[in-house]
């Protein structure tokens, strides 16, 4: 193998990129825009007022104001309206169905025994509603607790601490590190797939095979060339995700912040390395799959096949060990699973290169990359006949 020829191929890729501003924009600007959007959506979500319709025992003036006080103490924005002491469960359902309330609560007036609380919600947004249910249960428990009596002296207070990060870490802090890997994977796959397809269709691959360059040299040159771009991309994204630059208000422009200021205890260089090894697999997957495409559109059509399942099963949103059995097996075969695990270990838990988990993830990712180098090289034939 000749290093000079590998470098020649890598250099040719870099030279091609230099004149392609659109792709450069795609590689550097788009991931930042998408990550920023994600940060915006997750960070600055409106805390919507929860509208509660109450009926029965809870509908009297005293109970209502007690509920509102406790809600205010817990930082929940509650708007309570009474349907009356004698309202029935039907009235409560009607209020929710008509959109006049997000939650309806009926506590039938009864004598003796614990109250049986009936709660009605829309059922159109299970995730939000189950969160709401938890908060409501807490509120109702406290509202019903006779203060200064029983086992507890007054209502309990909570202090929450976490082993990693801090308790006020939000979804973005957990998602942003793995998005580094996911974006790198996506763009590198897309770019190499298209680039290699052009090489096959445009006849340059055939022409290359009339020179002493070997298939492995071509594939390694591609890995190096696109690896370089993955490197730059991951660096830019890492900086964006971790940094926080406050820009003060200037004239009519209000103050704003550049960067997501995501909490991280980890070593960004190691995180970057995990993302890079993942990208090398993506380069060779792109080369490999370009055999099965005839047009650039067909490369795009591989996205639902390659990129989406990795996003769903790789553990970005739902932990792999909570997936159904069969899907767990699938997930364990996806490089994204190991990259997500490695990135979280490093960025959230502060694991170093000495960590067995990180070493394991890196080893699997490297193994997958090598496998795809071999597969990719195998698809470069002297002849398509």
């Amino acid at each position: 193998m000749s290093i000079a020829r590998v470098l020649a191929v890598a250099r040719r890729i870099a030279q091609g990129f230099r004149r392609d501003e659109r792709t450069l924009g795609l590689v550097f600007v788009v991931p930042i825009v998408v990550t920023a959007l994600l940060g915006w959506v997750l960070r600055d979500q409106m805390d919507a007022t929860v509208r509660v319709a109450v009926a029965g025992a809870i509908a009297d003036q005293a109970a209502q104001s007690r509920l509102e006080t406790i809600a205010a103490e817990s930082g929940i924005d509650l708007e309570v309206r009474s349907l009356g002491l004698n309202a029935s469960i039907e009235d409560v359902r009607a209020a929710v169905r008509a959109g006049r309330a997000d939650v309806g609560i009926l506590i039938p007036i009864q004598y003796g025994g614990p109250p049986a609380v009936q709660v009605v919600t829309e059922g159109a947004d299970p995730a939000a509603e189950s969160g709401m249910m938890g908060a409501l249960q807490m509120l109702l428990l406290r509202a019903f607790e006779p203060s200064g009596s029983g086992l507890l002296n007054g209502p309990p207070t909570f202090r929450h601490e976490t082993v990693y990060l801090s308790p006020d870490a939000d979804t973005l802090d957990v998602l942003a590190p793995v998005f580094l890997g996911y974006f790198g994977y996506f763009f590198v796959f897309l770019l190499t797939g298209i680039s290699f397809l052009r090489e096959r269709v445009g006849g340059t691959l055939d022409r290359l095979l009339a020179t002493p360059v070997t298939r492995v040299e071509i594939v390694l040159g591609y890995s190096l060339g696109f690896g370089l771009f993955a490197t730059l991309q991951v660096i830019v994204l890492t900086l964006f995700v971790l940094a926080r630059i406050d820009v003060p208000a200037i004239g009519p422009i209000p103050a704003f912040t550049i960067g997501l200021d995501v909490q991280s205890v980890g070593n960004p260089v190691l995180a970057f390395f995990v993302a890079l090894v993942l990208s090398l697999g993506a380069v060779n997957l792109g080369v490999f799959l370009s055999t099965f495409a005839r047009t650039e559109l067909q490369i795009i059509q591989f996205i639902p096949l390659v990129i989406v399942p990795q996003g769903l099963l790789g553990g970005i949103f739902w932990p792999v060990d909570r997936l159904p059995d069969i899907l767990q097996v699938v997930a364990r075969a996806l490089p994204m699973t190991y990259a997500v695990d490695g990135l979280r270990e490093v960025m959230l838990k502060g694991a170093g290169l000495g960590s067995a988990v990180v070493q394991g993830d890196l080893a699997v990712l490297a193994g997958i990359a090598v496998l795809f180098v071999a597969l990719a090289a195998g698809t470069i034939k002297r002849e398509v006949a």
């Binding site: 000079a4 020829r5 470098l7 020649a8 191929v9 250099r11 040719r12 030279q15 091609g16 004149r19 392609d20 445009g202 006849g203 340059t204 055939d206 022409r207 290359l208 095979l209 009339a210 020179t211 002493p212 360059v213 070997t214 002297r382 002849e383 006949a385």
Partner: protein, 250 residues
């Protein structure tokens, strides 16, 4: 003609694509210092023959040898230059970057060699232009430059002068003759009769077979004409207006 002295040899070369016999039993022994012309109608198998000899496609039967080595052979690839019929360039790379890229793949090639070959194809003043901004003939010239840059002793040129203007075409042929005089073996596929006339020897291919070979003069005599174009029509089995001659199986 001893077989060992031949630079390019083929024995019983066959290539089929499905039911098509693109190359149908060709034997060759081509000597150094000579320019060989490959003539024949569209689809007669010229490109396929070149690709088989250069080791870019695998023969269905038979074998090809270059400098005594059986093809395909990677070490031999360094000693051959192949100019494909459709140019294979990187459109977003500049003229010079394209040549330099192929030069690097062929092994260490000096900047001087790159500049020389760019002067030869008269693209010296366009070295910075991206290949996609070149005219059709200029792209052809660039493709030739990429083929010649490592100064290979064996050259396969598949219609090298299509779209190249007459002045430059004359210069190209002068250069091919110089290369041949210096020991290069050249096999050129062409449809230009005036170019065929500059070859030392012609091979006329039809339906995958070499049906006539000899110097241009010999081919003209064999066809009983004084005009190479008329000879082409004769060997292709056509009359003077390009219509098939009935019952003229050569």
């Amino acid at each position: 003609m001893s077989a060992s002295a031949a630079a390019i040899e083929a024995e019983g070369l066959h290539k089929t694509f499905g039911s098509i016999h693109a190359v149908d039993g060709i034997d060759l022994a081509l000597q150094p210092n000579r320019v060989y012309g490959l003539l024949g109608p569209n689809g007669s198998g010229k490109t396929t023959l070149i690709r088989l000899i250069a080791g870019l496609a695998r023969a269905t039967a038979g074998e090809a040898r270059i400098l005594g080595t059986r093809m395909p052979s990677r070490p031999m690839l360094r000693r051959i230059g192949y100019m494909p019929q459709a140019e294979a360039l990187y459109p977003e790379l500049s003229v010079r970057e394209n040549v330099a890229f192929f030069a690097r793949l062929e092994g260490a090639v000096s900047n001087d060699a790159i500049d020389r070959v760019l002067e030869l194809v008269e693209l010296g003043d366009r070295r910075g232009t991206p290949a996609m901004h070149l005219s059709g003939g200029m792209r052809r010239r660039l493709s030739l430059a990429c083929t010649l840059v490592h100064e290979p002793p064996i050259l396969f040129l598949d219609e090298p002068t299509v779209g190249v203007d007459p002045a430059l075409r004359v210069q190209f042929w002068a250069h091919f003759r110089r290369l041949a005089a210096a020991g290069t073996t050249i096999l050129v596929a062409s449809h230009v009769m005036d170019e065929a006339d500059r070859c030392d020897e012609l091979l006329f291919v039809r339906s995958g077979k070499v049906i006539a070979r000899g110097t241009p003069t010999e081919l003209r005599q064999g066809a009983g004409t004084t005009d190479l174009e008329a000879a082409f029509l004769h060997y292709a089995g056509l009359d003077a207006e390009g219509r098939p001659l009935v019952a003229s199986e050569p």
